[in-house]
Amino acid sequence: MPDNYRSTKAIGVCTATAIDPQQIFTNRLKPYVAPLWRLRSQTKKFYTTTPIAVKVYRDEDFFFAENENLAVCGIGDTPQDALQDLALHITHFFEYYKNLDNSQLAGEALRLKTLYKNLLIEE
């Protein structure tokens, strides 16, 4: 602040100032699930027709990004690395199931093929 001036403090959330949103968030123990709209393989970019739920968490020195429904989990030294690893898994299985006929699959694999079908659109 320059000399001879003070902050007007005119802007601020005034209702129940004792409640600190940063505190609410940091006190939470369970990780949130966040949506993923765009992802990249090594050569292509995709957007998702339905957002993909991603749970990012840390276990010791590694970060994990997982989607249980699609049965994929990425790992990395940073959350961004884990997310990129997850994106590689998703794009891999998207291509993999696209090239398989239903008659070649059974059980869980059939469920996954249905989920992956039309999940991604190349940009």
């Binding site: 601020g12 129940a16 409640i19 940091t26 966040a34 993923l36 993909i52 739920a53 989607n67």
Partner: protein, 222 residues
């Protein structure tokens, strides 16, 4: 989402001296008593006592010039209003507060997000367009916004800021709305102020959130 409704009134010593009377009426539901910590330079009378439900979901904050009701797991306005008005009625029967100096309804929304590269893809979540000269990129790696918008009878403060968890694994956008009225307020009209505040914040929230994120909120996600 966390919600809080607060009324402020001219300092009333009866509230300060007789909080036990208020607590006696609500202790069955609000079994936890949290006392304020001393804050240097602040009068202890304006720091609220907190009465909280056993599960921590609902709470009341009471000081010489403020009464606030909060809910940590918001399950709709009707439920929140019902409990708020029940507490306001108890308060109104115990203390002679007729004039209010301020009412405020605050909604704190926590929106988990994933970065695209290093960028916060704000456009996926919020209908906000920031116009900048071409030489300045709007691919924001970080941002912090706060603005106050006037309405016919009050003002809404909107705060948008990112936060990161302690273990740095995940990030959220904190979307904090605060609708306030500060003129010509009577205790007897609190129900009306609460409705009006809710209407304004609901409208703003619905306009601000993208259709894509609304689908996520409805569970349309793989």
């Amino acid at each position: 989402m966390e919600t809080v409704f607060e009324i402020r009134f001219p300092g009333e010593p009866a509230v300060e001296c007789g909080r036990d009377k208020f607590y006696e009426q609500i202790r069955d539901t609000y079994s936890k008593v949290l006392v304020p910590r001393l804050v240097e330079g602040k009068a202890i009378a304006v720091e609220p006592y907190q009465f909280e439900s056993e599960d921590g979901n609902y709470g009341v904050m009471l000081s010489i010039n403020k009464l606030a009701i909060y809910c940590k797991k918001y399950e709709g306005f009707d439920l929140f209003k019902k409990e708020t008005m029940r507490l306001v009625d108890i308060f109104g029967k115990l203390y002679k507060v007729k004039k209010l100096t301020r009412t405020g309804l605050r909604y704190i929304n926590i929106i988990p997000f994933t970065r695209e590269g290093e960028i916060i893809p704000l456009q996926n979540y919020l209908n906000i367009k920031i116009g900048l000269p071409e030489s300045i990129s709007t691919d924001f790696a970080n941002l912090n916004l706060i603005f106050v918008s006037k309405t016919d009878s009050g003002s809404i403060t909107t705060r948008i800021e990112p936060a990161i968890s302690y273990d740095r694994s995940h990030e959220v956008i904190i979307l904090d709305f605060d609708y306030a009225r500060e003129k010509d307020l009577n205790f007897s009209s609190i129900s009306q102020y609460l409705n009006e505040s809710h209407q304004h914040t609901k409208y703003l929230f619905e306009e601000l959130i993208t259709d894509g994120y609304k689908k996520v909120m409805k569970g349309e996600i793989v």
